[in-house]
């Protein structure tokens, strides 16, 4: 292996058989290159998918009020259901084991202005737990807290794009904005992976919203999160008992499909996770297929190379080369070429993926990447198979009697 003379012999052979060297090197480099590109793009597709579907917390149940469609317990149909603060408290008290955060959400659209800039934004009046349901990421300042609720403060947390629209380059923290003719103090700026629309919200304490609307205690909708350990089955069971409790409390017929709506995100999650599994399978399949194609390519080249060298190997044997030295020479040369060109393909592929970066985002491929371990392993696999593919014909060539190899065609 570390025989300097043998290496010199190999380098000489490589240098003087450029086409052969190029062919086998090119096959390996191309195989690895395509593998990395396809695998990376597949990963990019997966990223896009995750951004689309896995932005919000998946362990949440949304409860919306509606209108009843059946008469029940003396109430007639078409009655409007409304949620109140006490409903939120009731959930907390009746399902302490199953709830993490319970928050109301009152949604209003308000004309908002700062100095000369104004625009209409959606305000969401919420409790602190809402931050974890939307996976809101704070860039500056803080979120709505319990003290805001207790004191019904006029504090607001604004989205990144709201800040950009209204404040341009000014720092919004501590400034006052006008939200639907009421002045709020900006205490935080947030971003959200869910996209632009999610960053155009303004969050305020729900108690403040109720105060502004004539001190009522109405709540638009209620969002409940449950511990992830419940799993899909537990979540469905929890939803069922929550439904029963709520319909009973609001005197809605248990068979009434309207009245109160429940949306359990765990259902979506299950579907999207299945989709993610399928996507992963496709990506792996594409990668494996490319790798197999690469292996077949390098095997063909190796068989061809050894075939082409049969006569030369015969001459070498007649001059005193042992079978072992023939195999070693062929293998060492092929492993050397595949290793070098394999890593050339590897780094070219990674470089291209890096450069593509975000430019393919409109084709649903975001941030394509391949982890180095996978790329490295694929290269090793190709080198090993190249060596095996070279070993079999080399072994056969080394066994051929020199007289057969030297026979004139």
């Amino acid at each position: 292996m570390f025989n300097r003379d043998r290496w010199r012999e190999i380098f000489e052979t490589i240098g003087k058989n450029k086409l052969r060297t190029f062919l086998s090197g090119f096959t390996v480099a191309l195989g690895i290159f395509i593998f990395i590109i396809l695998f990376g793009l597949g990963n990019g597709l997966k990223n896009t998918f995750q951004e689309f579907f896995l932005d919000d917390a998946s362990n949440a149940i949304f409860i919306y009020p509606g209108r009843t469609s059946m008469p029940y317990k003396g109430f007639k149909a078409n009655r409007r259901i409304e949620f109140k603060n006490e409903d939120v408290e009731d959930i907390k008290q009746n399902f302490p084991m199953f709830t993490e955060y319970v928050t109301p959400r009152i949604t209003r659209s308000e004309l908002t202005s700062f100095k000369n800039e104004s625009n209409t934004y959606t305000t969401r009046a919420v409790a602190p737990g809402h931050q974890f349901i939307e996976k809101t990421i704070l860039m500056k300042g803080r979120y709505i807290n319990q003290m805001d609720l207790n004191k019904k403060t006029k504090n607001a947390v604004i989205g990144r794009l709201v800040a950009k629209d209204l404040f341009k380059k000014e720092d919004p923290i501590g400034k006052y904005i006008d939200v639907g003719s009421t002045v709020f103090k900006v205490v935080g700026v947030f971003q959200d992976d869910g996209g632009d629309n999610e960053e155009r919200y303004i969050y305020i304490p729900y108690t403040t919203r109720q105060l502004l609307e004539k001190s009522n205690d109405k709540v638009g909708q209620i969002i409940v999160t449950f511990p992830k350990e419940l799993g899909h089955v537990g979540a469905v069971a929890f939803e069922k008992s929550l439904k029963k409790f709520f319909k009973d409390k609001k005197s809605v017929d248990p068979r009434d499909p309207n009245g109160i709506y429940f949306q359990n995100l765990t259902d979506d999650l299950k579907q999207s996770q299945q989709f993610a599994v399928v996507l992963q399978l496709i990506v792996s399949f594409v990668g494996l297929g490319t790798l197999i194609a690469g292996i077949i390519g390098i095997s063909n080249i190796m068989v061809f190379v050894v075939k082409e060298r049969t006569k030369e190997l015969g001459i070498r044997k007649a001059l005193g080369a042992t079978p072992r030295s023939v195999i070693q020479m062929v293998l060492q040369e092929s492993v050397f070429i595949t290793a070098i060109s394999g890593y050339v393909g590897l780094f070219l592929g990674i470089a291209v993926l890096k450069n593509v970066g975000l430019s393919l985002e409109e084709y649903f491929i975001k941030n394509p990447f391949i982890d180095f371990g996978t790329a490295f392993a694929a290269t090793i696999v190709l080198i090993i198979f190249g060596a095996i593919a070279g070993y079999i014909p080399a072994k056969r060539a080394s066994r051929i009697k020199p007289i057969v190899a030297l026979r004139d065609e």
Binding site: R316, G320, A321, L406, D408
Partner: protein
């Protein structure tokens, strides 16, 4: 130098087998220049291949320089070839991507001689066949006669006990053939044992002894008066 007793060899051709050598007996002393003659199919090349350990015999005894050549595995055969034998082929069999010098140095590589020494040796042997100035040329840049002289230099470089030449002039014109034979005669005069397989009578008469093969047996084995090739060049 070479002792052969009752040598048999047959080749399987499908279901039937072809008996090529049917009991060959002959000895070669050191310093002899022997021509093995015969029409095609007489078994002369098969005999040379067995002598050259490129092929194994089915039956019989072969002793080369007091070493019995028997039951050789590939590795051992390769070592013996490298140590005892030099080959010259009809089609030269030079490695086409190696220069004349590198071709001559190749058997020395398999003897494990260091690179610098190899090159000095190889150049010396190229000089002896009159091709010192062509050492960096590839075989494709050489004429047929030059190629065969490189091949002879290569065969001599490993300093073998016996030189085996299989139709060394088969691919050459008459004039070039005589030049090559002149070279072979000179090497022989320095004391090297040489066996030449040929079907050309004029080439055979440039040797000191002619062994005539027919249908796998020796039908004639005689010493001849050597015709010097230099007289014809």
């Amino acid at each position: 130098m070479i002792q052969i007793k009752n040598l048999h060899k047959s080749y399987k051709m499908g279901s039937s087998s072809l008996h090529v050598l049917k009991g060959i007996n002959f000895d070669v002393e050191e310093g002899e220049l022997v021509a093995i003659m015969g029409s095609s199919g007489s078994g002369k090349s098969t005999l040379l291949n067995i002598l050259g350990m490129l092929d194994g015999a089915d039956e019989g005894e072969y002793i080369l320089d007091q070493v019995p050549i028997k039951n050789l595995n590939e590795t051992k055969a390769a070592k013996y070839r490298n140590k005892f034998l030099g080959f010259v082929f009809q089609s030269f069999n030079l490695i086409n991507y190696k220069s004349a010098l590198e071709n001559v140095a190749l058997p020395l590589y398999y003897q494990g001689i260091p690179r610098k020494e190899r090159q000095v040796f190889a150049l010396e042997y190229l000089d002896r066949v009159g091709l010192k100035d062509w050492s960096t040329h590839l075989p494709s840049e050489l004429s047929g006669g030059q190629k065969q002289r490189v091949a002879i230099a290569r065969a001599m470089a490993s300093r073998p006990k016996v030189l085996l030449a299989d139709e060394p002039t088969g691919a050459l014109d008459t004039k070039t053939s005589y030049e090559v034979m002149d070279l072979i005669q000179k090497i022989n005069q320095e004391g090297k044992t040489i066996l030449v397989v040929t079907h050309e009578p004029d080439i055979a008469h440039m040797c000191k002894r002619i062994v005539l093969l027919k249908d796998g047996v020796i039908i004639e084995d005689k010493k001849v008066d050597q015709v010097l090739a230099s007289a014809h060049v």
